[in-house]
Point group: C2
Chain length 284, copies 2
């Protein structure tokens, strides 16, 4: 299936990578980008991430049969609602936001449940901006697709087809399951990396090695974006952080008691989980 | 300066990499490895990490003018004391252990303060074993050298020369300063990575992305070795972990209060420190 006109709302790392792949693989007749910064849109055109760009959302979305929202998560309902007004009446609406429950609720209130199917590609990076975009970003990466009970099978299939055409691997789950899982596997690591970085006095930064550098890498992410993600998903994040604090308290107790047999057990339980993943390195 | 006979006690990733560089760059007339497993010693000879190997420490260390202890940290005093008995009476003794205060104290009690200067290369990895050894392991890596008030300038200089011949960068500090710094920059990240891994249910491991994978990478380290490191350095580690728990409590409070302005401030303070390092990737 070739799309007639794909509208990408927000042409950064993710939006730009989607556009590049669509253009390179001729999966769309036309890829139009919307953004507020005309210089960045020009850069995206030069990089062949979009065919054309516009700072007018109505202009960009007009007549589109696929609209992909790649803005910060709290702007997604607003930009998708505006795009739906001028897009093809049968257009598929999807997104790349990191949280889903609140989003789906808001889009349902806006009457967009028929057209919208949420997506979340696990292809983030500590890098951002269209200059880091690549058509290969989604290759073999996991994309979570989050239908609700209102999602029609055809819409779900269109969304799965779209991500498969970008060479992604798919995982279908409900918005709530998604958010609870991400609280543990994505949002908690971000908070923990941030705490660890903040716990390091500036004077010691020069003595850090690859361990500290790996463990804190994602703390370089954009605070404004992560604030939104944590706000959207605050209850699952709170629970994940409380669980983390409970295990930390176990550790403190074991070390205070000089119970290094217990320390070794704790280390082994962490290693067991880590070893089950393998040693894939950051794409960033 | 070319060493006559270098004895490497424990031929794993670090010991093997030292031997390879000494052999490749002809920095020693002879490199002898000691280990308990004769198969691993044979492998090290095949890989040209050592010229010869022996399961007898006395045989391996006999007549050496440089002895480098690369065993788990709690065995270092014992193996160095045994080596010093048979090595050249003027031999330099050093090590690659991750902690220094306890070690220096024990070696002082063993009467080895004149010959021993502690070293700690920041060149660890989640990989271990001589099969991962490389002559380039220390290239541009930071090595901390930890003289005491008893260390003679000549001994310190010999130690610095040795690490410089392996292309390392040097940082001289006292054993206590070293241990307090490492508690924050190395041992705390290890504990935190371990807690984060342990906080992830097995069923969610398949949904982890590069963020989780980076943040937990070092949790794959060997529990038996890390237990020793944490035991040797337990008080600075305890303080670092308590400080970490205090910042975690701030986070929990901010999220419970839905104070996302505060959350953004916390994220910014983490990013500020992380950004001051740059984005070097793991050597592992």
């Amino acid at each position: 299936v070739v799309w007639n006109r794909v509208c990408i709302l927000g042409v950064g790392l993710l939006g730009g990578s989607i556009g590049m792949k669509l253009i390179q693989s001729r999966l769309a007749k036309e890829v139009v980008g919307y953004g507020r910064d005309s210089e960045k849109l020009k850069q995206a055109v030069v990089l062949k991430a979009i065919d054309t760009g516009s700072t007018s959302l109505r202009e960009a979305a007009s007549g589109a049969d696929l609209v992909v929202a790649c803005t910060p998560v709290q702007q997604i309902p607003e930009v998708l609602a505006a795009a739906a007004e001028v897009a093809d009446s049968q257009a598929l609406l999807t997104d790349v936001g990191s949280t889903k429950s609140t989003l789906v609720e808001q889009l349902s209130k806006l009457g967009l449940s028929d057209q919208f199917v949420g997506s979340h590609p696990l292809a983030g990076s500590d890098r951002s901006g269209v200059r880091h975009a690549t058509a290969k970003l989604f290759e073999d990466r996991l994309v979570m697709v989050t239908p609700t009970k209102d999602t029609k099978p055809l819409r779900l299939q269109q969304t799965l087809d779209f991500w498969q055409s970008l060479s992604a691997r798919l995982h279908v789950m409900s918005p709530i399951e998604h958010d609870e899982a991400m609280a543990v596997t994505s949002h908690l690591p971000h908070v923990v990396a941030s705490i660890l970085a903040a716990a390091t006095p500036e004077s010691l930064v020069k003595l850090t090695g690859t361990g500290w550098q790996d463990t804190t890498r994602i703390a370089a992410g954009q605070p404004e974006l992560w604030r939104q993600i944590l706000e959207e998903n605050y209850l699952p994040v709170l629970h994940a952080l409380q669980n983390f604090a409970t295990i930390s308290a176990d550790w403190i107790q074991a070390i205070e008691a000089k119970d290094f047999t217990r320390v070794e057990q704790l280390l082994k339980s962490g290693k067991l989980i880590r070893d089950s993943v393998g040693n894939q390195h950051s794409s960033g």
